[in-house]
Structures are given as structure tokens and as C-alpha cells.
Amino acid sequence: MLGASLGFGAWGLGFLRRRFLGPILFCVVLAAEAASAAEVVPPKPPAYFNDYANVVSKEKARVLNEKLAQFERETSNQVLVAVFRKMQSDSSIEDYAQRIAQAWGVGQKSQSGGNGVVLLVFIDDRKMSIQVGYGLEGTLPDVTAFDIRSRHINPHFKNGDYEGGLEEGIDLICKAIRGEYRGDGETALEKRRTSGASSGCGPLGFLVMLIVVLVIIRLGRRKGGYGYTGLGGPFVSSGWGSGWSSGSSSSSSSSGGGFSGFSGGGGSFGGGGSSGSW
């Protein structure tokens, strides 16, 4: 009996190996290949202004972030800025930037497909892109985006003045798209916080929360009593690149008028805007 089952087991293994090992190996090889060739779309950033390359002072970054959050409250337009060190793609900046903007879902989907603008800067590649959502192609046409990029941001960047270039660019983008839509005084995230407090916490939400809390407790123990400072703020930076951890410094509470977080609205991007190098 035992022998028979053992024999069967061995046969079963052999069968499994013959049947499935090939495809499994093939899949592994494919996945490895895909990983080496594929591009990396960075995860959705936690803020409106995200400096992963450390070219802007913390203070300035906070001011610009607050400005963009306020802009969404007033106009419902979402303008998101992300500064990275390097592109993680072999594609052109236009294609890569479009895919990133689309993946992050900047802008409210309900406003003609998406009223978002994404300004992406890759310092080491000396490349940047302004991606304009479907809903703003009318107010921020390619010519205007090109003008903002080449005549207003580029001169600053050429002198290494990233802070000045970004500030001027943000101002001009906001100026161009103001007036197209009206906001209702809240960002998407704030809206979700106020309305979703009761409905959003189903059993699944509770379970996820429980797991998160447990994991945090475990992590805390493993660190042997050190406070887990990274969780001080409302958001945990995912550490992409040389992560700009937002909450770890002064704005440790979400209530104290500190840091305004970004939450996308599923906006779509059709390739409008302007891209290039400086």
C-alpha cells in the first residue's frame, strides 16, 4: 500500500515535472527578461510637490505643495509635480511621462476625462515633461505648455536654478488653467476623509487595518524599542529613489495645518502637453 502510494507519488512528481516544469521555467525566464527590459513607473506620490532628487529646499517644497493643494480646493484642478534623478525607461520622455501621468490618475475623471497636469523632471537626464489631462487640453494647449517649458522653465534649469524654474512653471501652469473648472473648497483626499469615514470601513477595510497595525507592532518590536519615526506623518513614503519622507520632520500631525496629501481622481492623459530637454 505504502509502496504503491510512494510509487504513485514518484510518478506524479515525474508527471508534474514533465507537464509543468517546462512552462514554469519558461515563465520564470520570461519574467526575468521582462524585468530587465521593462521600465519602472514610479508609485503614486503622496504629495502635490514631490522632490525625490533633493534639489529644492524642504521649506520651499512645503510652500509649493500647499499652494497646489489650495489650487485644487479652489479650482478642482490637480497639478502634480515630481522631480526625479533618472528616467527608468528606454522609451522617449513623451511616452514615459504619458504612462506615468496615466498611471497616477491625476485629475478628476468627471471633468471631461481628467483635469490634471503633471510636471515631471528628470535631473540627471536633463529632461522634463508637462503632461496635460484630457479635460485641460483646451486651456493649456501644447503651444502654451511648450512656451512655459522652453521660455520660462528652461532658462532657470540651465543655470541650475531648479527651485526658481519649478516655481515659475507651477505659477504659469496654474494661471493658464484657472477658471476652467470650479472647486468646492476641498481636495479629493479631504473629501474622501469627510465622506468616507463611515462607509469606507467595511469588514475588509477593518481586516486590512488590523494587519497593518500588527505589522507595525512587529516591526516596532524588531527594532528594539526605537520609535518608528517614519510613520509620524499622514503618509508613508514608499522610498522610491532617495525618498523624500514627508512626515518624519516637523509636520507630524495631520491636523495641525501641516502637510496636504494628494489623491488622484482617475484622470486620463492623451499625450497632450510638451516634453523635451534643457
Binding site: 513623451e94 511616452d95 504619458q98 494647449p141 501644447d142 503651444v143 505648455a145 511648450f146 512656451d147 492623459f269 492623451g270 499625450g271 497632450g272 502637453g273 510638451s274 516634453s275
Partner: protein
């Protein structure tokens, strides 16, 4: 015996239909509508490009001594694009039809990028605001074209997959759903256009 077999078949068909029937049909209709919508988007960005061309041609033609052959090529390509008429509200079902459309548009793409490359030789033209504006618009339009083509292909893939899946594939013929062809990458589309400059002609910089 004979009748019972027929009855069995009928039963099978009925049960298949009731299993998959309405939901599948509705799903296919939705997917087909999406494909058509994406097709309309593709058409509109191509139209947008075609609309830019008269302006571009007149701006460039105004520049002193601009190479005439490049301009004629663009104008001709624009004309041949206009001749390939496809229904903008319904995605084509015939692969050859789409191929023809794609070929005409591809020719226009090549002619346009050649024009832009040739314009590098005319710094005065490139310095004008109107040319820079047109170039920015043209670049944006090309980006939009590639995005919409991708979106269209994704929609077609989803629809075609739904069609081919069992047991839908047994029903789709009954309702007349047809698979749709994709856009394919044009051979050599990833290469930059080849441009030959004729240096025997007086160069534009030398003329006053």
C-alpha cells in the same frame, strides 16, 4: 433514436444559450461600443494632424528658398490620406482596410518628420514664433496619435478575447459579432527618416 438525438442537441443549445445568453450579449455590445469609441478617438487625432498641415505648409513655404520637394511630399501625403475614407463611427472589420489607412497615415508621418528635419537647415524659419508653435502642436499631435492608437489596440484586444472565449465563440456568429484588426507597428517606424541634402544647390545661408 434520431429524434432523441435532435432533442439532445436542442437541449444543449438552449442550455448553452441560457447559461451565457443575455449577459454575454450585453457584454459584447459594450465592448464593441468601446472599440468604436476608441476608433473615433483615433480618427479625431489623425484629423487634428491633417488640419494642422495647411498652416504648416504655408508657414514653411514663406521661408526663403525652402526645399520644394519636401513640401510637395507633405501636400501629396495629406491628399492621399484624405482619399482613404473610413467610417469614423465604426471600427473597421477588414484588416486590409485598416492596413491601407495606416499606410496612408504612415506616409504622412514620414513626410512630416522629414520636413521637420529639413527645417533644421533654416535657422531663421525655426526662430519664428509661428513655426515653433506649429512644431509644438505637431509634436503634441503625434504623441496623441500614439496614445489613442494604443488605447484602440487595448480595446480591440479585450473585445477579440471576449469573442474567442468559450462558450461565447459558439454564439458570436449567431449575433454577427466580428473580430477587429489591430494597428500594427509600421516597419521602420522606429527609425528616424532619412534625409538627403543636396549640397550642389546654393545653400539657404548663402542667399541674402
Amino acid at each position: 433514436m434520431k429524434t432523441s438525438l435532435g432533442f439532445g442537441k436542442l437541449l444543449l443549445l438552449v442550455s448553452l444559450f441560457s447559461l451565457t445568453g443575455c449577459g454575454t450579449y450585453n457584454r459584447l455590445v459594450t465592448l464593441e461600443q468601446t472599440v468604436n469609441k476608441k476608433w473615433a478617438d483615433v480618427q479625431s487625432v489623425y484629423q487634428r494632424r491633417a488640419d494642422l498641415i495647411p498652416n504648416l505648409v504655408s508657414t514653411v513655404a514663406g521661408a526663403a528658398n525652402f526645399e520644394k520637394s519636401t513640401l510637395t511630399e507633405v501636400t501629396n501625403a495629406r491628399a492621399s490620406v484624405g482619399q482613404v475614407k473610413l467610417d469614423p463611427s465604426k471600427a473597421p472589420t477588414d484588416a486590409a482596410e485598416l492596413e491601407k489607412f495606416q499606410q496612408a497615415q504612415g506616409q504622412l508621418s514620414t513626410a512630416l518628420s522629414r520636413l521637420l528635419v529639413v527645417s533644421e537647415n533654416y535657422p531663421q524659419l525655426r526662430a519664428t514664433a509661428s513655426f515653433q508653435g506649429l512644431q509644438a502642436q505637431l509634436e503634441g499631435t503625434e504623441n496623441r496619435i500614439s496614445v489613442e492608437r494604443n488605447n484602440f489596440n487595448t480595446a480591440v484586444q479585450e473585445y477579440n478575447t471576449a469573442l474567442e472565449r468559450f462558450p461565447t465563440n459558439m454564439l458570436n456568429k449567431m449575433f454577427g459579432f466580428k473580430a477587429r484588426p489591430f494597428f500594427t507597428a509600421a516597419p521602420g517606424a522606429e527609425k528616424a527618416p532619412e534625409v538627403k541634402f543636396d549640397f550642389n544647390k546654393p545653400s539657404p545661408a548663402a542667399t541674402p
